[in-house]
Amino acid sequence: MATEAFTLDDLKAILLEAAGADEAVDLDGDILDTEFEALGYESLALLETGGRIERTYQISLDDDALTGAVTPRALIDVVNAQLSAATSA
């Protein structure tokens, strides 16, 4: 796969829209492997984020996959896997 369809910047934009940003956290820092909880996002914020990703990219994210993705890198991987599955389907 040449380029990632869903990037960290895409995720950050949706996170900000869905849940804002904790004042103590720099989303522009190296956050790929920082757990969402440490970034100040609780389960509901991630549920809202997941819902927005689904609407924007017209994909369906499995509940377990969503709750299992505890870092931005893991969530980006889940989304890209869905996107490529949707493309190849």
Partner: protein
């Protein structure tokens, strides 16, 4: 004897002033915040006037994390709680988290947030509904968000009894302090000036359909024609009097007495319960009617309800026996936020020795009330009575007493 409970901090968001100072100076000047609705186009609705809080920009007061998950009422409640804590000189981070609680009132929950999500539901589908709808509309959400923001894990909750709830919540806060909680954030902020909230309020049949801001909400006037709805309210910091004294806190006054009754079933032949609520509150405070310096009226502006209130006041205090005022003629009725705002006004009246006026009305001669009209009245205020009634039969009364004054 039960522990005294005092008010040490105020936070105000009112239609005639954002902030305690702004509200109080506007109120003493007789400056009204009632005008045509701007938050939506009211032209298709029979009622078109409201008291809207001016100049509240949530992003100026709250972190971005809270914006997507909060209704306007919650944003104003959070800001007012911040101001009240600052006013009280309390840093919640320095107190044990289980020693602080939050008890607010609510009348309808976050209607504007809910309306937006319901609109998405029917126009776009369920996937477009915010996950935050699960709590953002909810009655208890202001208490919950204030609790989370300030790390307050002591006894908390919400009271829902329309306008009376603003006093019922303060009474519940006092109960929790008497049971050992050191500090409780109380009061209420409501805001449902949106089409859905408006339609819900219209069902009461009590909204004024006048389009003249100075003729629309006229309690105790022969032309009484219902009320103008408003938004906002006040958050109060309540503390155990001893604990407040130990930390050298400035004390606005004491929540000295409380009474609540429920009206009998219509047609039962039994009288309304407001008078009894007043008597219970005075007895609870160990205050004689002659010691009360001012009554803040519920001021329904529905003729039958005005008559019931005037009769209850004169039955307890005698004809023209006590100054009566309704500064809510400048804000409209704020539902759960109304009575906490009246409590704030009563406490500020004590501080300044100034009873704020009732505006716009020509009192009907049928009511034997000493109404404070148009101009504030200079008078020592040591004890004040605040009345609030909720739709469906709720009657509540609270006696506030100036600091450093024990029961007679």
């Amino acid at each position: 004897m039960s522990a005294s409970v005092v008010v040490t901090g105020l936070g105000v968001a009112a239609p005639n002033g954002l902030g305690t100072k702004e509200f109080w100076s506007a109120t003493c000047e007789g400056s009204s915040g009632i005008g045509r609705v701007t938050r939506f186009d009211p032209s298709g609705y029979p009622a078109r006037l409201a008291g809207e809080v001016p100049g509240f920009v949530a992003e100026d007061h709250l972190p971005s994390r809270l914006i997507p998950q909060t209704d306007r009422m919650t944003r104003m409640a959070l800001a007012a709680a911040d101001w009240a804590l600052a006013d009280a000189g309390v840093d919640p981070g320095e107190l044990p988290e289980f020693s602080m609680g939050v008890v607010t009132a609510s009348s309808s929950g976050g209607f504007e947030f809910g309306q937006n999500e319901l609109r998405k539901l029917w126009s776009l589908g369920s996937h477009h509904v915010s996950a935050y709808q699960s709590f953002a509309w909810f009655y208890a959400v202001n208490s919950g968000q204030i609790s989370i923001r300030n790390g307050m894990k002591g006894p908390s909750g919400v009271v829902v009894s329309d306008q009376a709830g603003g006093l019922d919540a303060v009474a519940q806060a006092r109960r929790q302090i008497r049971k050992g909680t050191r500090l409780v954030v109380s009061g209420a902020v409501d805001a449902s000036i949106c089409p859905w909230g408006w339609v819900a309020q219209l069902t009461s049949g009590r909204l004024s359909t006048s389009e003249e801001p100075d003729r629309a909400y006229l309690p105790f006037d022969r032309d009484a024609r219902g009320h103008v709805p408003g938004e906002g309210g006040a958050i109060l910091i309540l503390e155990d009097a001893e604990a407040a004294r130990e930390r050298g806190a400035r004390v606005y006054g004491e929540i000295a007495g409380y009474g609540a009754t429920f009206d009998p079933r219509p047609g039962s032949g039994r009288g309304p319960g407001l008078r009894r609520a007043i008597e219970i509150a005075l007895a609870d405070a160990a205050v004689e009617p002659s010691q009360v310096d001012v009554v803040f009226a519920d001021a329904a502006a529905v003729p039958d309800l005005d008559r019931i209130e005037a009769e209850a006041i004169t039955a307890v205090f005698g004809a023209r026996g006590v100054p009566v005022t309704a500064p809510k003629t400048m804000t409209g009725r704020l539902y759960s936020g109304g009575a906490p705002l009246d409590l704030a006004a009563a406490l500020l009246a004590m501080t300044d020795g100034l009873i704020p006026p009732t505006v716009h009305i020509q009192p009907s001669p049928e009511y034997e009330l000493d109404l404070v009209l148009d101009e504030p009245r200079a008078a020592p205020v040591r004890t004040a009575l605040v009345l609030a009634r909720g739709h469906g039969g709720f009657n509540s009364a609270v006696v506030v007493r100036a600091a450093g004054q024990d029961a007679a």
